[in-house]
């Protein structure tokens, strides 16, 4: 076995540069992900009395009805969220990439906006609109005398989560659709396939890498998210159970850590299944520029239907923002379909008193997203294009960050770095805001990594070989050929990481050391803890959405312009 590996790995395949980069990344991940997490989860394997190794806590996990129920609830909610998110994402992705549709860029941008919603205020807004005494149900009840239980129990979690996370599918699926070689579609048409059959049999399978990347992200995120269930007071799911137990005062119960381990294992399993589903499907179809699907014009009735579907979906997925906007202008909104009155006061409060939150957020989130796409591109390249031993482990390690609850990472950082002093200032390392940036980068790395991997999978290796053949070294090939060709995917990864890092709370809350260094999510959290803070909190949320949304829109414009310049847009 070893001998065979050795013969395959001949000397020329090992490049010191690649190895050095791999080691650097591995060291970064070890230091900022693995070690902190191990310092927390080893409690799961520790006998409380003797301190020795034990598996009895895992036995307890399987013996406890609550945990088993929580497990199945989490599984059900995650699967249903993937289904609902697909129902939201598929029409948007298809209509915008298949037809000449006015407002494509707008849809692509608005479709990403739900990600920019800090989960807990998203749920607040959804309660206001869809809750038992929310706008819709109040009107239904007054007019027809019944209510729809949108937000009851697990329904609420599924509804909020699928709205919040569906952009993962939209972004990845759209990127894949754009990269499909037009001839694939034409070949199918030529063989007599058209319409929905063409989509189901050719287009969708070709876009599968993107869809699976997005769907597995949604599944794992919902599985691990604790903010939304907690805010909706649903506690019989795994992640909330872990959080409740880890962060409860005085309770030194190892079960929280056991559940964390279970979460990590389940997410790894989900990733493994996704990888298995993708095995042997080499969909590198970009050879002569890809070109995406042929865009055609819609017939009038198609146009009406398409607009109706798009508007309905956008209304649903933007409902939290709608609610939040109303809240940010509301004087008092209590047990009534709409607020009692409107005011600009909240914006005044936020702009004059809390602008540092926005500044900090933009700085932290863009730094974190920058780190993410650099590491993401590097890992994707090492995994897909080199033969380094153990390169797959870099991928696994980075993806494992998905499965680490933010609180676990936060506590891990405090445990690992608090006793380390910064050079010169003598302050604890954790009190330096850069630690927050690294925590955000680690938390969002999987998003960027999946986007980069999908992008690289669709770049034909011949394009790189052509450059090497013409005298470009590996490094220069990456800079001049690989990265520019991946730019769409990298940008998508950057946006996803940036937008979601901007609203990250769970790790932040453990690591923020002072209000002046705090990011937006923390500010929102603080505002939302008091009756008088709801309005300003909502206003801060809206400002965040606007700013991050504007950044997203801008990057879409840049992508589209690049494509148009290259003449890849057909009319």
């Amino acid at each position: 076995m070893i001998a065979r590996t050795l013969t395959r790995m001949s000397l020329a395949d090992i490049r010191p540069g690649q190895a050095a980069i791999a080691i650097l990344i591995a060291a970064f991940l070890l230091l900022f992900l693995v070690i902190p997490v191990i310092r927390v989860v080893f409690v799961a394997f520790q006998d409380p009395a003797t301190g020795g190794f034990t598996l009895v806590h895992f036995l307890d996990f399987f013996r406890t009805d609550l945990f088993i129920r929580s497990f199945w609830n989490s599984f059900y909610v995650s699967s249903m969220s993937v289904v609902i998110a697909t129902i939201f994402a598929l029409p948007l992705a298809y209509i915008t990439s298949r037809f000449n549709f006015r407002g494509t860029i707008l849809i692509q941008t608005l479709g990403v906006v739900p990600l920019i919603m800090p989960p807990f205020i998203g749920a607040v807004a959804m309660q206001l609109l869809f809750g038992r005494n929310g706008t819709i149900n109040m009107m239904l009840h007054d007019t027809f005398g019944f209510r729809i239980p949108f937000m009851e129990g697990l329904n609420g979690v599924i509804f909020v989560q699928s709205i919040h996370f569906f952009p993962f599918i939209l972004i990845n699926l759209s990127a894949s659709l754009r990269n499909i070689d037009r001839s694939m579609e034409e070949a199918a048409q030529n063989l007599g396939s058209s319409g929905f059959r063409l989509f189901r049999r050719i287009v969708f399978p070709l876009a599968m890498p993107g869809y699976i990347a997005g769907a597995s992200l949604v599944f794992i995120k919902v599985f691990d998210d604790l903010g939304t269930p907690l805010l909706l007071n649903v506690n019989d799911m795994l992640a909330p159970q872990a959080y409740l137990r880890i962060s409860s005062i005085g309770i030194n119960d190892p079960m929280g850590y056991v559940i964390s381990v279970v979460l990590v294992v389940c997410s790894l399993l989900a990733l493994w299944v996704a990888a298995l589903a993708m095995k042997g499907k080499d969909y590198a179809t970009v050879q002569r520029g890809g070109g995406g699907l042929t865009k055609r014009n819609m017939r009038p009735w198609e146009k009406v239907a398409a607009y109706a579907i798009v508007i309905l979906i956008l209304f649903l997925v933007l409902a939290p923002h709608l609610g939040l906007t109303l809240l940010s202008f509301a004087t008092i909104w209590s047990f009534s379909p709409l607020p009692d009155g409107y005011t600009l006061r909240h914006y005044e409060t936020v702009i004059f008193e809390s602008s540092q939150f926005i500044r900090n957020t933009l700085l932290y989130a863009s730094m974190a997203a920058g780190i993410d796409v650099i590491i993401g591109t590097a890992i994707a390249y090492l995994v897909l294009r080199t033969k380094l031993v153990g390169r797959q482990w870099l991928d696994y390690m980075a993806m494992a960050a998905l499965a680490v609850p933010g609180v676990v990472l936060g506590i891990g950082y405090l445990r690992t770095f608090y006793t380390v002093d910064m050079p010169f200032t003598g302050q604890p390392l954790t009190s330096f805001w850069l630690v927050l940036v690294i925590a955000l980068a680690i938390r969002r790395l999987p998003y960027a990594l999946r986007a980069c991997t999908a992008a690289l999978q669709q770049v034909s290796e011949a394009l790189e070989e052509a450059a090497e053949n013409l005298g470009a070294t590996k490094a220069r090939t990456i800079r001049k050929i690989v990265v520019p060709l991946m730019s769409g995917g990298i940008l998508a990864g950057f946006i996803t990481s940036f937008a979601t890092a901007a609203v990250e709370l769970s790790a932040t809350i453990m690591l923020v050391q002072s209000t002046s260094d705090a990011p937006l999510a923390y500010g929102l959290y603080v505002f939302m803890q008091s009756a008088a803070g709801r309005g300003p909190g909502a206003a801060l949320g809206i400002l965040a959405v606007l700013i991050v949304g504007a950044c997203t829109y801008l990057s879409h414009v840049i992508i589209e312009r690049g494509r148009e310049r290259r003449g890849e847009k057909s009319h």
């Binding site: 001949s10 002569r288 090497e468 013409l470 005298g471 470009a472 070294t473 220069r476 890849e568």
Partner: protein, 371 residues
């Protein structure tokens, strides 16, 4: 062409040979190249010919540096490049898919290699102009690859490669994505270009006609082994084995063994009265096949007497195809079936199916092949 010659002189091409010795390469258990050795002369237009999966592209990529052999040496000129990365080998490769970078204009695609070689900017511009003019695409310099037709893309790929004046030009099935007419035109252009530039060129193809028309010499490959190296004509006329015989043109094959006639001369015994005197003298009793081309046979109706220097076989016409310049007959001889081409001069009648015929075989044009 004059202009091209002048430009080629300006480019000052260097011609070097390629020397491959004892190369073995495997992926896991799959042995892709088996002890391959080859010498390609400076300025030669050389082809790797073989069916898909024979290892020809692997061998080409080995020269370019994209594959690494477990053993063996690759030399370009006097330099052993076996351990050099692709970017330090200075061999130009045109990819089957062309591999034009979609995010760069044609001009930038072509300039890429020069920029990598740190050529001064003014010279880059001049040489890009030269290369684009060479392939006749100067007017499309600012377009993007997706805006070009297949043939145009092919020329860009070629321009991008020759502009850096590589020591060796490698072409990986460059014509396979083009239509037939364009293919014929492009292969002539390729040949002209190669002649003008005097560039050592290796051409991978599975199409024997393509190889025959443009190449000085061909290495026929099968199953990771070089079966035979030679000029197109020698390979056709004197194939070293059945594979080469069958891959280059139509070959009629009768199996049997070597015996002696009354005069002690070597004859081929094919059974059922098939006895063919041989020009060569293989060892007595050797088993093998007798190979001859369809046009080496003269067909006579009935049982006419044998002409001198000719071996005579009897057979039955199975069917016939009129091909214009000739008529191809399928004839059963003993257990075997052979193809025979009869030139058509506009006066002969078609021999009817089922007729007994007499085949006169030019013994100087038969070959005994072992195995």
């Amino acid at each position: 062409m004059n202009q091209i010659s002048e430009l080629a002189r300006k480019a000052g091409t260097r011609s070097v040979g390629v020397h491959i010795a004892g190369v073995n390469l495997s992926y896991g258990k799959h042995h892709v190249l088996k002890d391959v050795s080859l010498d390609i002369q400076p300025g030669e237009f050389f082809a790797f010919l073989g069916p898909s999966g024979c290892g020809k592209t692997t061998l080409l990529r080995l020269i370019a540096g994209f594959n690494t052999a477990q053993s063996g040496v690759v030399k370009i000129g006097e330099e052993d490049v076996s351990r050099l990365p692709p970017w330090r080998r200075d061999v130009g490769m045109v990819f089957q898919s062309y591999a034009l970078w979609p995010h760069m204009s044609i001009r930038r695609n072509v300039a890429f290699g020069l920029e990598e070689r740190r050529v001064p900017r003014a010279e880059v511009a001049e040489r890009v102009e030269w290369a684009l003019e060479l392939v006749g695409l100067k007017h499309l310099a600012d377009r993007y690859p997706s805006q070009l037709s297949g043939g145009q893309q092919q020329r860009v790929a070629l321009a991008r490669t020759v502009v850096v004046q590589p020591k060796v030009l490698l072409l990986d099935e460059p014509l396979s994505n083009l239509d037939a007419k364009l293919r014929v035109q492009m292969r002539r252009e390729l040949r002209d270009l190669q002649q003008e530039l005097g560039l050592t060129t290796i051409f991978v193809t599975h199409d024997q006609e393509e190889a025959n028309t443009v190449c000085d010499r061909i290495a026929v490959m099968s199953d990771g082994v070089i079966q035979q190296v030679g000029t197109p004509m020698s390979l056709y006329d004197q194939p070293g084995n059945l594979f080469v015989a069958g891959f280059l043109g139509t070959a009629n094959v009768l199996s049997g063994k070597i015996g002696r006639d009354g005069n002690g001369r070597a004859v081929f015994l094919g059974g059922e009265g098939i006895t063919v005197p041989l020009a060569e003298t293989p060892p007595d009793g050797a088993e093998g096949s007798l190979m001859f081309r369809p046009q080496s046979v003269t067909l006579r109706p009935g049982d006419a007497p044998a002409s001198p220097g000719m071996a005579q076989l009897r057979g039955t016409v199975l069917h016939s195809e009129f091909l214009g310049a000739s008529i191809r007959y399928a004839v059963t001889v003993g257990q075997s079936q052979v193809q025979i081409d009869v030139p058509h001069h506009g006066d002969a009648e078609l021999i009817e199916n089922g007729s007994a015929v007499c085949l006169e075989l030019d013994t100087a044009k038969t070959r005994f092949l072992h195995g």
